[in-house]
Each structure stands twice: as C-alpha cells, then as structure tokens.
Amino acid sequence: MSTTTPRHVRPLAPDVERLAHLRDAKDLMDRSYAEALDLDAIAREAGYSRFHFIRAFCDTYGQTPRDYLSVRRVERARELLRTANLTVTEVCFLVGFSSLGSFSTRFKALVGLSPSDYRAREVQRGGPPPIPGCFVLMWSQPAPQSRRSHHPARSVSSGAATKKEDDK
C-alpha cells in the first residue's frame, strides 16, 4: 500500500490466497478419494461455484478436477494391486470408482496396462516397491500447464526405462 513499506514485509503475491484455496480442494481429493466426492462439494472446499472452480483448477493444475481425482484413485489402485490380496473389482470400489468399466478404461489410459495385467507384472517383479509412498503420492500430482492426458502416467515400478522427461 504505502511506498515506504519495507521490502521484507511486502504483502504476499495477490493470488496466493486463491492458490491456497485451490490446494485445499486438491487436498480434499487426495485425502477423501475413496468417498463419493461430487464436484459441488469439492468446489465448496475451495470457496468456488462449480463452474468457476473447474476453470480455476484447470488453469492452476493443468487438468480438470475430475481428471485429477481419477489420477489419484488410479495411483491408490496401483498400490492395492501391488500389495493387497483383493480382486480387481474390490480394488475398483475401494478407491472410489463406481463402475468397473470406467475404472478399467481410466487405469489403462494412465498406466498403459489393464489392472489385471498390471498386477501380473508387479507380482512377477516381486519385492517391496523401491520408492517411498509419500513420493509416489506427490509424483502423481498434476503437472501445471502441461500434458492434458495424452501421455500415460509414468510408472513407478518399472524403473529407469519409463522415466521419460516428457512433461517439462
């Protein structure tokens, strides 16, 4: 406000608050992915109307909230397929998908394999995953202003071969 404001108490960049509200919405999806989250509830978390929320989220994270939620669910499904003794159908519902068809389609689009093929590959590989879970969680976060879902998501478990720098 005042021109004499010292540099170190300069106010935050103007859209920090807006970004923090969008982050709250994303955190809600990360936390409550298994629930039947509807867009209105997610938008409310960010203090937006549904319409403005979708636009603002896209501008910030490079994908729609719905796409992001399904990325998170697929990431959780991958872990369950690797580690839990559950059927594909059980995994599908546990991570929040409401139909096996949409789960399989989305999984295949992101991972490049069907859920059962993915599990077969992981079982064959054996052993615990080499990368900590917190990193896998954050690694599957949306990349701002880049890919809009054309690339299959990078695979954590198959090592350096799939670590393409394709989204810089």
Binding site: R7, L12, V16, L19, L22, R31, P132, G133, P144
Partner: protein
C-alpha cells in the same frame, strides 16, 4: 569428509505464521530469529534433534530475484513443493495430535514397506512425510 547436514531451507509464504505453525503445531523450537538489513533469518528444529535446523525462508531478494520469488511462491501455494520426511515413534498418535491442532493431512497413517506413513502440509503448503520406521 562431510560429517552431517546441519541446515536445510524450506520456502514459506509468511515467516510469522510459519514460526507459529512449526512451534505451536509441530512442537519445534526456535533456534534463531534475527533480522538484519531487512533480511530475517529464522530457523527452527525438533527438540530431540539439536544438530539440525530448518531455515524458514521467505522467497525474495537477495536470495532469489523478484521473478523467481513469484514463481516459488506460486509453487508453494499450489502445494507442489515437497520438503522432506519427519520421523516419529508413533505415527497414529502424532497424526491424531496434529490433526486435532488443525494440521492438514493428505494421507492418513498407512502401512508401507518401510513403516507407517502419513503425509501432511505446513501452513504454507509444503508437504512432509510423517513416518514411524519399521523395527
């Protein structure tokens, strides 16, 4: 030979708020809070780990120029910077305690090959793992 790491920076959006968060919510202690020529040097650390300090740094000159500060600020606020892993003897207990204090969690305590892990954010948006190591 390098002996150990003693300081690591975490970018925060507001140093006063970060100081409150790290001390009042996480239970850290303030190691230094000094201002010189407009630059505030603020460090905190876990009580049980006296030889390590987190520098709660605000993006801005002279460390980074205005343009870089803006980019870093946006990344932190969007929640895309990850700042490290914290250890606890009791992940569920610490999770309950921090959650009661209003700390945002992205993930509840979950079994991992290396232990029990939850994921939380600081008040700026940096994420941390909270891990109870196995055996």
């Amino acid at each position: 030979m390098i002996k150990r790491m003693s300081h690591a920076p975490v970018w925060v959006l507001d140093q006063d708020s970060a100081k409150r968060f790290y001390t009042e919510k996480l239970g850290f202690e303030v190691r230094t809070d000094a201002t010189m020529d407009g630059l505030r040097w603020l460090t905190v650390g876990p009580k049980d780990q006296p030889d390590f300090e987190i520098i709660l740094a605000k993006p801005g000159p002279p460390m980074v120029d205005d343009e870089a500060a803006k980019a870093i600020t946006a990344l932190v606020a969007r929640g895309q910077l990850g700042a490290g892993a914290m250890e606890t003897d009791d992940c569920q207990g610490t999770y309950d305690e921090l959650k009661k204090k209003g700390v945002t969690f992205l993930q509840e305590p979950a079994d991992r090959p290396y232990g029990i892990e939850a994921v939380f954010r600081d008040d700026s948006g940096n994420w941390f793992s909270l891990t109870e190591r196995k055996g």
